[in-house]
């Protein structure tokens, strides 16, 4: 779960990490007050729970109040990577001498926390990793002892820091590590971490908190919901995973791997998935019904392809869910089903009686879904 920048910066401040002075506004009219408090120039930053905001036009510099007002108006009307902008963080523009990168994340392969640092901040770390991997210093952290100050200093020297900057870097890294551990974070990142005429400062600050650990940080439960959009939000409430894509074949599977494989097969036979929808393990008819209904109600979806391999999930429950959705929903769409596994026979019977085409092979079912989608179009 992504925190918004201002939320993450509140935590940064609590851990003594310097951030630029800033004011959160919720409508363009508040921008003047923010400027009165901060002085000019200011940076206006759209608060959306997603990375890559800068490139998407969510961060703008304003040199005078009129410009600031215009930018605020424009940002509030914008959607950034699909997220409406409900608030803007107005910050005093810093006088930047140098931009660094610093983050803490998980090193899956070595089952460790790792610190990543670079003397070349500002860029997306993925790009930097691709284009100039040698510019990123990776410091694995021994879990028994935690982050070692002297190792941070060694990294600092490698990215060209000395004197007071070296000390600030050490302090900020220690605080970020502590935040990482205290908040069950998947990522704590400052990019850029800047050397300014006011000292070292986290110009941007990002935190992703482990969704599975939210129960230990109930203050962020609301933030989690905010991250989901439209139908995804409804889906999350109903207990399945849902991501919208831009094709026209609705996909329902059980298990992330099988659902992705279903998308792959559809794609392989020339179709385009409209979504990813994983009903999860052991789904009963009610959950299946809701899942089918979400796709029936999505105007982009022309055909629905249900691919279930029943282990704990009973094929009969899936079949009953599909039939119930079709009965309840005013919208009718062709459905292709491939249901294998536990209670397969009953499942088959239920679907056949409802006149839903049924396949034993994933490939045959996919081909039929692709054919139907073309026919409808």
């Amino acid at each position: 779960m992504n925190l918004l920048e201002y939320e993450a910066k509140e935590i940064a401040k609590k851990y003594h990490i310097p951030v630029p002075p800033g004011v959160l506004i919720e409508e363009p009219g508040q921008v003047q007050q923010a400027i009165d408090e901060l002085g000019l120039p200011v940076v206006l930053k759209a608060q959306v729970p997603v990375a890559g905001r800068g490139k998407a036009g969510g961060v703008k510099l304003a040199r005078d109040p009129d410009e600031a007002y215009e930018i605020a108006e424009e940002l509030f009307e914008k959607e950034i990577k699909g997220y409406p902008v409900y608030s803007i963080l107005v910050e005093k523009a810093a006088n930047i001498q140098r931009e660094l990168y610093l983050s803490f994340t998980l090193d899956r392969a070595n089952r460790r926390v790792v610190m990543l640092a670079s003397g070349e901040g500002g860029m997306e770390i993925e790009e930097l990793a691709k284009e100039k991997p040698e510019a990123i210093i990776k410091l694995p952290i021994e879990p028994e002892i935690g982050l070692k100050a002297h190792e941070v200093r060694e990294v600092g020297k490698k990215i060209g820091l000395s004197g007071n900057c070296l000390r600030s870097f050490e302090q900020i890294a220690k605080s970020m590590y502590k935040i990482f551990m205290d908040y069950d974070a998947d990522l704590v990142e400052s990019n850029p971490l800047a050397i300014t005429d006011q000292g070292m400062m986290a110009l941007d600050f990002r935190m992703i908190i482990d969704d599975n650990a939210i129960f230990r940080h109930p203050e962020f439960e609301a933030a989690r919901e905010r991250e989901l959009r439209g139908a995804e939000k409804i889906a999350a409430k109903r207990g399945f995973f849902y991501v919208e894509l831009d094709g026209d074949i609705g996909i329902i599977g059980n298990g992330a791997g099988l659902t992705m494989a279903t998308m792959d097969v559809v794609n392989y036979y020339g179709g385009r998935p409209a979504n990813f929808l994983d009903i999860g393990g052991g789904a009963r008819r009610e959950r299946v019904k809701e899942a089918v209904k979400v796709l029936l109600e999505n105007p982009r979806v022309k055909v629905i392809f249900v691919n279930i391999f029943g282990g704990i999930t009973l094929a009969s429950e899936v079949a009953l869910g599909i039939v119930a959705a079709l009965q309840e929903s005013p919208v009718k769409k062709p459905i292709v089903a491939r249901v294998v596994g536990t209670a397969e026979e009953e499942g088959r019977k239920i679907l056949q009686e409802a006149g839903i085409p049924l396949f034993e092979s994933m490939d045959e079912a996919a081909k039929e879904a692709v054919r139907l989608a073309k026919e409808v179009a």
Binding site: N212, L258, A261, V265, F276, G311, T342
Partner: protein, 296 residues
């Protein structure tokens, strides 16, 4: 010999008194797995499916010294503790079914258990099955048949799918390991493949990967270095998934420079591993390899 579980497997079920734990314990017992005891804190002294329940794994182990394996169905908030407990009791295989464990907890527990010499499979995994011998997991076992092809998979249902397709072609499996889809897991892809590589009863290994992480790339590198001698056939789910989207499991995230499907497929191909575009090509590739080896 097969990998990790066999006729000598003796199981304690942590979280046996819960609905889910009980259901799968029954399934495993029906399959012939030797479950000797269950553990649920505070419920010591009860009995489930004719097996005694203890408050701690240590007590179960004292009663049944032959216990060597644990399967964990404990809810996510207590699952890390359960792993640590199983490791302290000296169990050598710990299969963690529980999903939704906070990743910092998994990190701590898995590292600890490994330092004690235990193999942890999972969390958030379907478990391990050696068809015809034993099942320590939740997979629908009717789709698996005894044979000589190993399966290592990050995905649950996709494992069943592939096993089913192999079975339909008459290709049996030595062992199938669902290693789990979480960002931090115990036994990883490379380690699981190496176990199968050493198993005299496995001829060929099917690896089912998915987007996210760099497990597939690391396996390809190990194969390139000659660390794996048996043929490997791979499938990577998620080629159609757009970057930056979460596809259900935490494991299926493309972000922070971790692996896209393209990078994984490319790495496998460069290591000489045939990669299926879709699941149904897996049996074809396996059949072809086995024929080349003169095993079919």
């Amino acid at each position: 010999m097969v990998v990790l579980v066999d006729e000598n497997t003796r199981v304690v079920v942590q979280g046996m008194t819960g609905r889910y734990g009980k259901f799968h314990s029954e399934q495993m017992m029906k399959y012939g797995t030797k479950i000797l005891a269950g553990v649920t804190p505070g419920k010591g002294g009860q009995e489930v499916l004719g097996r005694p329940i203890f408050d701690t794994v240590k007590e179960a182990k004292e009663q049944f010294p032959e216990l060597n394996t644990s399967i964990i169905f404990v809810p996510s908030s207590g699952a890390a503790d359960a792993i640590i407990e199983a490791a302290d009791a000296g169990l050598k295989l710990i299969v963690v079914i529980t999903e939704g464990i906070p990743v910092h907890d998994t990190l701590r527990a898995v590292r600890y258990a490994r330092s004690k010499g235990a193999v942890v499979v999972g969390p958030n995994c379907p478990g391990v099955i050696s068809p015809g011998k034993a099942k320590v997991g939740i997979m629908p076992h009717q789709y698996f048949t005894p044979g000589r092809v190993g399966i290592v998979s990050r995905s649950g249902t996709l494992t069943y799918e592939i096993a089913y397709q192999l079975t339909k072609r008459g290709i049996g499996q030595s062992t199938a390991i669902g290693i789990g889809g979480d960002p931090i897991i115990g036994l990883d892809t490379v380690e699981a493949v190496k176990l199968m590589d050493k198993d005299p009863d496995t001829d060929l290994i099917v690896v089912i990967g998915e987007i996210g992480g760099d497990a597939e790339e690391r396996l390809a590198a190990a194969i390139k270095r000659g660390e794996i001698t048996k043929p490997v056939v791979a499938y990577v789910a998620g080629r159609t998934a757009p970057p930056g989207k979460r596809m259900g499991h935490a494991g299926a995230i493309i972000s922070m420079g971790a692996g896209t499907a393209e990078s994984k497929v490319k790495a496998f191909r460069e290591a000489g591993v045939p990669v299926a575009d879709i699941p149904s090509q897996v049996p074809d590739l396996v059949e072809q390899k086995l024929k080349e080896m003169g095993k079919l």
